[in-house]
């Protein structure tokens, strides 16, 4: 019983999930950073 394809599939799926999750966190962080900049700029303009 070798099932190399099963081992390959399991590791690709595992790594893929961790990688995709990290990318979603990084993208959300980047979007929030832009929001913070925008809000700070609008507050500074209002002063």
């Amino acid at each position: 019983m070798t099932n190399l394809s099963s081992v390959f599939a399991a590791y690709v799926i595992g790594w893929g999930i961790f990688f995709i999750y990290y990318i979603t966190v990084a993208r959300r962080t980047a979007a929030l950073r832009k929001d913070i900049e925008r809000l700070k700029n609008s507050l500074n303009r209002g002063k």
Partner: protein
């Protein structure tokens, strides 16, 4: 002007540090994969497919650990009502879900060649699936409540109850007869691993714990920024 430049500089240095940590995590994960595929000996009964074990079992352990961190965050929020505990709770729940998803997907890939079936509703598999559903509901619940304080409290109380499934998942293969194998790690007499397999296994556990800490930190920073956005929005409305 100089303040802005300083902020940019510190942001850049923080970014560099985060990239460096991410690179170290990826390198460790790469070596762990190499150890699982080439250093660990081939198991005599199942053959090569048993190498999924090094990803599958530690993912399960780290998922339970993440849910424990979430539980601590939830409990602390109920008693202290400080946003940081809510941020920790949601961060650990989301990271735990990532590990739990890996666990639930890699299990059937391993089970099919060994058991001849993808899935069976035995105690361990069912309780793990229920765990996944419970924490999916935890994350969905948070999207339904608008008020931040109310959202934090409702999800903290729900999270404390969701955690009740964690000891059941852990104990299921010890208390009941299941299709899922009995524990080879922290099991009873006669359980255990060949020494090289054991080293590779614990190396994987260590790596995934490091990955968990890294992801929780990143997710926590995101939640803290969300808190800052809410604060600035209130300021903008008041101005």
């Amino acid at each position: 002007m100089s303040g802005c430049a300083l902020a940019d500089l510190s942001g850049g240095s923080v970014l560099k540090k985060r990239i460096l940590v991410a690179a170290v995590v990826v390198a460790l994960m790469g070596f762990a994969a190499y150890a699982a595929l080439f250093i660990a000996p081939t198991e005599s009964k199942m053959g090569t497919v048993q190498r999924i074990f090094y990803l599958h079992a530690p993912s399960g352990m780290v998922a339970l650990l993440s849910f424990f961190v979430c539980f601590v965050g939830n409990l602390a929020y109920v008693f202290k009502r400080q946003p940081k505990w809510d941020w920790l709770g949601v961060s650990a729940a989301e990271v735990g879900m990532a590990f739990c998803t890996v666990l639930i997907l890699t299990g059937p890939i391993w089970a099919h060649p060994v058991w001849g079936i993808w899935w069976t509703w035995d105690a361990r598999l069912t309780l793990t699936f229920v765990l996944w559903l419970l924490y999916t509901s935890y994350l969905l619940l948070r999207t339904l409540v608008e008020d931040p304080d109310r959202r934090a409290l409702v999800s903290a109380i729900y999270g404390i109850f969701a955690f009740l499934d964690v000891p059941l998942v852990y104990g299921s293969i010890r208390w009941w007869r299941t299709q899922h194998p009995q524990p080879v790690i922290m099991g009873g007499a006669g359980s255990g691993l060949e020494p090289t397999m054991r080293k590779v296994f614990w190396f994987w556990v260590l790596n995934l714990v490091i990955l968990m800490i890294f992801l929780i930190r990143e997710r926590y920073a995101l939640e803290a920024m969300r808190g800052e956005v809410q604060f600035l929005e209130r300021e903008a409305e008041a101005a």
